[in-house]
Symmetry: C2
Subunit: 408 residues, 2 copies
């Protein structure tokens, strides 16, 4: 990341005020892993009794920290847990050296904090294939352990950024059977974003008490409908990780709570949308909804074909209501479609119907919708009951600028 | 196409001198389908006895002319055949009006030329979803029939262009059992290029005599290894068509000729490469070769994941030897891979091996290769015998410029 980038025009006005979550504390450090003059490591400590759930990239070349986290999930952290994240270097495709780096870092965190090594989760994000200078991270652990504070989540959101142009956070306070439960989450990610999980790191904390299996079930289900339904460029990272930590400090069990389940879903979707809103070079936020497909799987295939099409993404960037490219994407997706039963809308404007331009088509009305910052592309296949919704952004000169010289 | 584009830096120095093919004549016209001040219709007439073979897009939303061609292939054109192509409008997703337009054009060609309507093949390329003003085409048929000449193939190559920056042609004269046979082909296509066939129109003519079934077998096989192995932007057109016409005028039967088979393959590959070299905004020609995959299918999946990755294509544009993104693409492709058995080369430079940066890695050597106009990315999976080669171009600001305002 040579130069700093202008904040995305789709960014929220400000980082939200997040509720303090009892049972978790944070600290950050400027360890100089790669970047200079900014924080690049965060350490979160979790109270004894914390249940951990997670979701990870399905890449066949996933990074050493991801494999380590996957092996450690499950059970309850009787003696607490720790999450250590660095930005600037992904420790991915680094061979045995990468595995050794994870061991060295988790051992050092255990020593500095008293958390068992088997409950130390790490993530690394940044350049692939460069050896991780983990000594710079372990050298900062004394300060990180000593500097823990309950209100450090906003600083943590900043420390995990790479090409992000704004820190991402979302929070909720909900009522579960008359008692308050709080959730707060942070995320990073702006490119190499596609299912499954893409270059995203997401950490969600709650003071709720949850059975680990029940929590994992909720997280997996919501992940499929939130983080796995966003795409910036169809590229999938080797490092994506989502961790949800339920400290139990509120004493309120949410294992069967519909209210908690809904709040967790909404918070995950909010963070997922923020990742799209920070898509590299993004100037428009695009929602693609499919209905009438032969199945939900087919609907998702069509939705992703539209969301990943460079021709559609450039048309959105150019504010061009080019619905012919939507027909093209439906045609190429491989899922069932009947050209003569398609209908397509841009916003509320029906542009195509029954295999041709809609009789009511107004280029002016369609063009007016394309000038919005939030674009809605809806397609009904006219075949069945399958539905899907995915989110993406447009493809602009900014994407080329960011990615044609990221390493240099 | 509002403005005319600079010729691709990857274009051949000049349009080749193509052999005259006995049994075929050409004419072009400026019918004003959409463009002004240039030719936009070409009519080729084929002698009685011509065998026709072809290959077409597999899009589920393919255009009316494609469906019409597919229905007409097969058999020998005892009374001759005709190929009529217009640029500027794809007559795709135009409902019953599109079918009617094909009928009107093919009937008018039959009337103007004496070729049976069942042997009149048409293609249309350009904007999707706009009604084709076919009267402008039929009005030009008198001139097109009267203006036929045997040396018109270069003019035909120009008339079928859309966003192409140069006309594409390739020719061969070969020896089959001591007798001369000639092949000449033209193509158009520069964006929306991906298997299967993408926005490509390809017309190949030979004076060879061929059994239709044998010719079709050769064409299908070569198409899988040439036009179906190129990608510009992963988007697939609704209109792609390849027609091969063997007039038989030389009297030389090539149905079992290995020399002809090889020459036809090489010519098809040449034209396919020219389409990539005219990829929208392209500044580099990229060959991706995969070896050691578990199967040829897996090899192709990996190759296409690399060739379609926006992050790799922007890295190539930026002359950045970012092999980490190659690891990423292999990981996301869905085909079998073992992170720790991968090896990756840029040109002759081994950059990664056994799950990590190559011990011999030289950033300078890798960076030097990336400055070439022809980039070679090779990956060995270390798993089996599967191989594949595909071709693509880089992703540059030019692609965004061309596609963000194509319709306007």
């Amino acid at each position: 990341m040579g130069k700093s980038l202008a904040v995305s025009p789709l960014a929220p006005a400000a980082f939200p005020d997040l509720p303090v979550i009892a049972g978790v504390t944070f600290a950050t450090a400027a360890a100089g892993v790669k970047y200079q003059g900014r924080t690049d490591v965060m350490l979160a400590l979790l109270a004894p009794g914390t249940a951990m759930a997670g979701a990870f990239t399905r890449s066949a070349t996933r990074a050493a920290p991801v494999l380590d986290c996957q092996a450690k999930l499950g059970g309850i952290a009787e003696e607490g847990a720790a999450i250590l994240v660095n930005s600037g270097n992904a420790n991915a495709f680094t061979g045995q050296g990468g595995v050794d780096a994870v061991s060295a870092i988790t051992a050092a965190v255990a020593q500095a904090t008293g958390v068992p090594q088997a409950r130390v989760f790490t993530s690394s994000t940044g350049v692939i294939g460069e050896p991780l200078p983990y000594n710079r991270i372990t050298a900062a652990l004394g300060d990180l352990a000593a500097g823990q504070n309950a209100e450090g989540i906003a600083a943590a959101a900043k420390a995990i950024m790479t090409t992000d142009t704004f820190p991402k956070g979302a929070g909720a306070e909900i009522d579960v059977d008359g008692q308050k439960v709080r959730i707060a989450g942070i995320a990073k990610g702006s490119g190499m974003i596609a299912p499954d999980m893409a270059t995203m790191l997401v950490y969600i904390f709650t003071d709720a008490k949850a059975d680990q299996v029940a929590l994992q079930r909720m997280v997996s289900e919501h992940c499929d409908r939130t983080f796995n339904c966003i795409t910036v460029d169809s590229d999938t990272s080797t490092s994506d990780s989502l961790l949800v930590a339920a400290t139990g400090a509120s004493g309120v069990d949410v294992s069967d709570s519909a209210a908690f389940n809904t709040a967790l879903h909404d918070l995950m979707r909010d963070l997922a949308h923020q990742v799209v809103r920070d898509g590299e070079g993004a100037s428009k936020f695009v929602e693609v909804t499919i209905s009438g497909a032969a199945s939900d799987d087919d609907a998702r295939t069509h939705a992703m074909a539209i969301a990943n099409s460079p021709l559609i993404k450039t048309a959105v960037a150019g504010e061009d209501p080019n619905w012919g490219r939507v027909v093209m994407a439906i045609g190429k997706s491989g899922a069932a479609a009947d050209r003569d039963r398609l209908s397509i809308r841009f916003g509320d404007v029906e542009v195509a119907k029954d295999g041709w331009r809609s009789p009511a088509y107004s280029e002016e009305a369609a063009a007016a919708h394309m000038k919005s910052q939030e674009i809605l592309i809806s397609v009904d296949l006219g075949l069945g009951e399958g539905t899907a919704t995915v989110w993406t952004c447009d493809l602009t000169h900014g994407y080329i600028e960011i990615n044609a010289d990221y390493r240099s």
